[in-house]
Amino acid sequence: MSGFTPASSMPVFVHRSRRGAELVLMILALAVGIGAYAAVGLGVQEKVPVDIVGYGTWLVALLVAAHIGVRLLAPYADPVLLPLVAMLNGFGLAVIHRLDLAAGASESDAFARQQLIWMSLGVVLFLITLFVVPDHRMLQRFTYTAGLGAVVMLILPMLPIIGKTINGARIWINLGPVSFQPGEVAKVLLVVCFAGYLAVHRDALALAGRRFVGIDLPRGRDLGPLLMMWVISLAILVLQRDLGSSLLFYGLFVVTLYVATERKGWIVVGGLLFAGGVFAAISLFSHVRVRVLTWLNPFDYYPDPVNGTSSGQLVEGLFGMAWGGMIGRGFGSGEPWRVPYANSDFIIPAIGEELGLTALLALLLCYGLIVERGLRTAIVARDDFGKLLSVGLATSVALQTFVVVGGVTGLIPLTGLTTPFLSYGGSSLVANWVIVALLLRVSDQSRRPLPTAPSDEDLAAEETQIVKLDKGAMNK
């Protein structure tokens, strides 16, 4: 007996909270954000921006608030995620400011100013999310509510009066002075819905069902609600002509399903369905066909559009990146104004032009790290819902980055999506801050030390108590 150590008293690996590390990284992130802002002023106007102190103070205040919020509300959360998104957001602000200067925007209608307001809102929502969701498992209760909410969000832009079509995509709603893309909120709701549903039904999906040509097909009643969900989302997206989100939602769905069931068959089925969908979309919809054609032969549609189809945006972006080369032309020395919508979908080519391949590889590494930290959170998560939730959230960042960066660099056909945290776009920014809050919440739950069970000695030390139960209580 002497050599036997009971399992309960084995040294359990306990995660450190690492908030100090987060603070150091936050300072680096702030240095990048404020430094980039100063560099833009120096490069474009040959002077440090006059509002650098006010701007810097506001950025510091926002991010310190976020850091303190994490210290108080999620002390064991992953220490790398917040600095990464802080850096991306701050850097994105500087680039948007640079594009404002290129466009000759005045103070009041400057995109950077609006983006800073959206960022502030994002950080507030980040803190609120951490506060009202003390345990991510409570979100599982809202599985179907979230699903319904996502559908409503996706239908909203289709409604008259509040719905608004911008650049051919009907994905906006008018809320008084501001426009909002409810699809970005739908993204988060869908992830919650998928995770909640699959956490409950994963066993049935994985085990029950019939085997057909080597593939285990699930029972219709297990799959029904999800398939319906998927069809509704896709139908709305096809009607709204938003290819990027369509791709993102479908990818999220297949990945979460695969992780939940641990069956590679889903990837195969998903891939086949995807191929079929792409084929159908190309043959049925001219706006999809045009995207593929301009991707394959961009120079056929440049500089003069053919039948109203132009690849000018893509080609100018490629020219810009090629012109930037390895180290870029420097802030103020490029011509990013040649690319329409450089501050939203095409912010990557704008950065590539002025800061070069070096900056873009660094940015991609940051996105890669966000995804990696998200998936790491999924690995250490202690419950199925937490795992699926963080897988969904991390995958949404990975897919969105791939779809937009791949699109603007000519790797895949161009579909409209914003670059997470970098691009101008309030809805996307706010939604992504909520995604980070949820990831931090799951990570806090997973890395927090387990409540220690009272040991035998503790119990022995307790005085034995005799509890006398009365009859009434026993008969209850």
Partner: protein, 488 residues
Amino acid sequence: MNRPIRTLSVGCLILFVALMLNLTYVQFFKASWYNDRADNRRVTEEAYAQQRGDILVGKKAIATSKPSDDKYEWQRTYPGGKKYAPITGFMSYSYGQTGIERSQDSVLSGQDNKLFTNRLVDLVTNSEPAGGNVELTIDPKVQDAAYEGLTALGEDVQAATVAIEPKTGRILAMASTPTYNPSKLATHDFGAASKSFNNLSKDEDEPLLNRSIQTALPPGSTFKLVTAAAAIEKLGMDGDSKVYGGASLDLPGTTTDLPNLNGTSCGGEQITLTRALEVSCNTAFGQLGMDLSDEDMRAQAEAFGFGQHYLDDIGPQAKSRYPTNDGKDKQARAAIGQQDVIATPLQMAMVSAGIANGGEVMKPYLVDRVTSSSLDVIDQGKPTTIDNQPAISRDTAEILTQMMVSVVDNGTAEVASIPGVSVAGKTGTAQSSKERAPYAWFTSFAPAENPSIAVAVMVQKSGTERSEIAGGRLGGPIAKAMMEAAIS
């Protein structure tokens, strides 16, 4: 569920690696492909909107960038104007660059590797990268004489001239008419530029052509210098050697004869080689062409530079050539600069310069120095010969010089004589076709004992009557004025 999550993370890794590889491809490996595209306005406009270096003659800029208050910031202007247009070329938004603007573009735009340290300094000090300057070998006095001489021939004239310093190969003058105003093509008023360009390209006198290097025509009698050189080298002749001087030369294998220009003999059945050159005797040189082998003739022509491009500083250039002649009749005609022999004015100037420099033909060059924006000398043109072998021996050169001086003193090139200076020269009149007037040539150098300039003048088309066209009368005064400008 951890196994599929690990698989998923590998999948995400693949996506990000794919993005990074693609970016590296776009921004590094394929970047120059994008940058070289003509429809890439970033690159074309940057080149256009840049402060380029100056093209200088002496201390004076003949092409410079002036600040402009439009979005292109700098306007290229050409103080050298029409006189220097064939050399500077132009820099236009829609029609690219020509001349020195094109050949020295990397220096003028500051992209040249020679300017690497300057670029580095510009980068560190965050100042606008400035282009380097190109200083030409042109002597403005000789260029003035050349341009004034050509324009004095009148309107509607196609002519060109080149002057070389025989000892070094420095090009002292290069002019061509008709010419154009490059500033009109460089203007930021693109509509006006396009109108000017269209008018110039439609003009049948081809004003955009730099005839001194881009037009190769039969050199006519000026080519007799090459034939005479071959005869002295290969047949051991000298100025007093006797050659055939009859009125007409029977061409074997044909029914035609080769007559002299005026149909009379050159002063007897047998004349000296010097006399043959003085009167530009077709029958004498036709006979020499048949006596020499076709290979020897071509070797002699190529030793002077035929069949090659020797001027690297500007382009494009036409190639002068002495093609294969099968048959004695063709050899005879080739020997007097007809048949299929063609030469540019630059080539004929090189022939004279070679003779003037004791047989060594120097490689012609136009760019004297390249200086950085801060006027440090980056590159300095150095005289080199076109070949390790001289084209002709020093003795041959001396004999030819004496003969050419005699042409000016006693022969057809009298119009080029300068009091107190011994001038060596040779005229040429090349038949083109029955319908059009012959081409008039003139080549010379001076002073004969220590030459400082060699000139070739070519008049392709002039308003002069057919009978009036003789090399001496049209080209001689121009060559004379240029030589005087160089000597004084």
